[in-house]
């Protein structure tokens, strides 16, 4: 009987601790995640322009490893824009704030590979929580 009570208490405490762990768990870190898709910024934009709903369902919340040419860098918001061969639309890559030093070494025209979570399309296709996977300039 005593042993049963101890077992139950252990289980309860374990469940409670697991609950606390789940509650405080941070959102997934892109550094540790594997890319679901590898695609170029131009092809990604093409898919979204062709059928936005379909592309949003396919790529939304997925980790993308995207390659492309830098068209603009906005250091204040730690964001890199990739050319998507369109006059207005590009691919917005919003980096983690602490990735700023990595961005500062980049320049317009560089070819880069960026990993981030796709959140959909406004004017731009947007990737969030981005990290640099491979600068190959």
């Amino acid at each position: 009987m005593k042993r049963l009570i101890i077992l139950l208490l252990t289980l309860l405490v374990g469940a409670g601790l697991y609950g606390v762990y789940l509650f405080n768990k941070k959102p997934a870190d892109t550094h540790d995640e594997k890319a679901d898709f590898e695609i170029s910024s131009i092809d990604l934009m093409k898919e979204f322009s062709l059928d936005e709903d379909k592309a949003t369902k396919k790529y939304g919340d997925k980790i993308l490893s995207i390659s492309g040419k830098i068209s603009e860098i906005n250091q204040a918001s730690v964001t890199v824009f990739l050319d998507a061969s369109d006059p207005i639309a590009s691919v917005t890559c919003s980096f983690y704030a602490n990735e700023l030093p990595h961005i500062q070494s980049l320049k317009k025209g560089d070819m880069v590979q960026i990993k981030g979570k796709c959140t959909g399309k406004l004017t731009d296709v947007v990737l969030n929580n981005c990290v640099l996977s491979r600068p190959n300039n």
């Binding site: 789940l22 509650f23 405080n24 768990k25 941070k26 959102p27 997934a28 949003t56 369902k57 939304g60 919340d61 906005n74 204040a76 918001s77 730690v78 964001t79 824009f81 917005t92 919003s94 979570k117 959140t119 959909g120 399309k121 406004l122 004017t123 731009d124 947007v126 969030n128 929580n129």
Partner: protein
Amino acid sequence: MTRFITLFLLFFLTIISGFSQNRYFTKTGLISFSAGTAVEDVDAVNKSVTSVFDLTTGQIEFAVLIKGFEFKRGLMQEHFNENYMESEKYPKSAFKGKFDDVAKINFKKDGAYPTMVKGTLDIHNIKKEVSVPGTIKVENGVISSDATFKISLEDFEIKIPGAVKDKISPTVEIHVNCVYKVL
């Protein structure tokens, strides 16, 4: 005839250039909100807000992707997307509106200009007419918009289950901040 065409083209170009100088945009605007209570803090931020602002007509638009809101806790972010905002079905939120008195703002002079903007707020696929106080700032020629306002979750048919009622406030404070560039 050639002179006519040249004149016409000049006229046309003047219109285009005049037009484009008065349109401003950003793709890196900020929207954050707090929906917490004394029991729990529920804060999130989105750093990729798109906004277009026409200085001549006073028209202003904002658009934001729901999946781009970042929370401190993963589960909260999951519940926000799946249960409350249903971001699979309704991936965007938007505001389209107009400033009351854009003519009174001197965009060439540094300063903070308090103003009102009226328009349609679209959250969770529910559209509501709203009137929001905001500030237009001009700093070294750079134009920015700033607004803080409250919305009621009920107005936008966002349902909060009984179990978390004490943790999520029925009114949510939203903060918008955009720094613009010439389009």
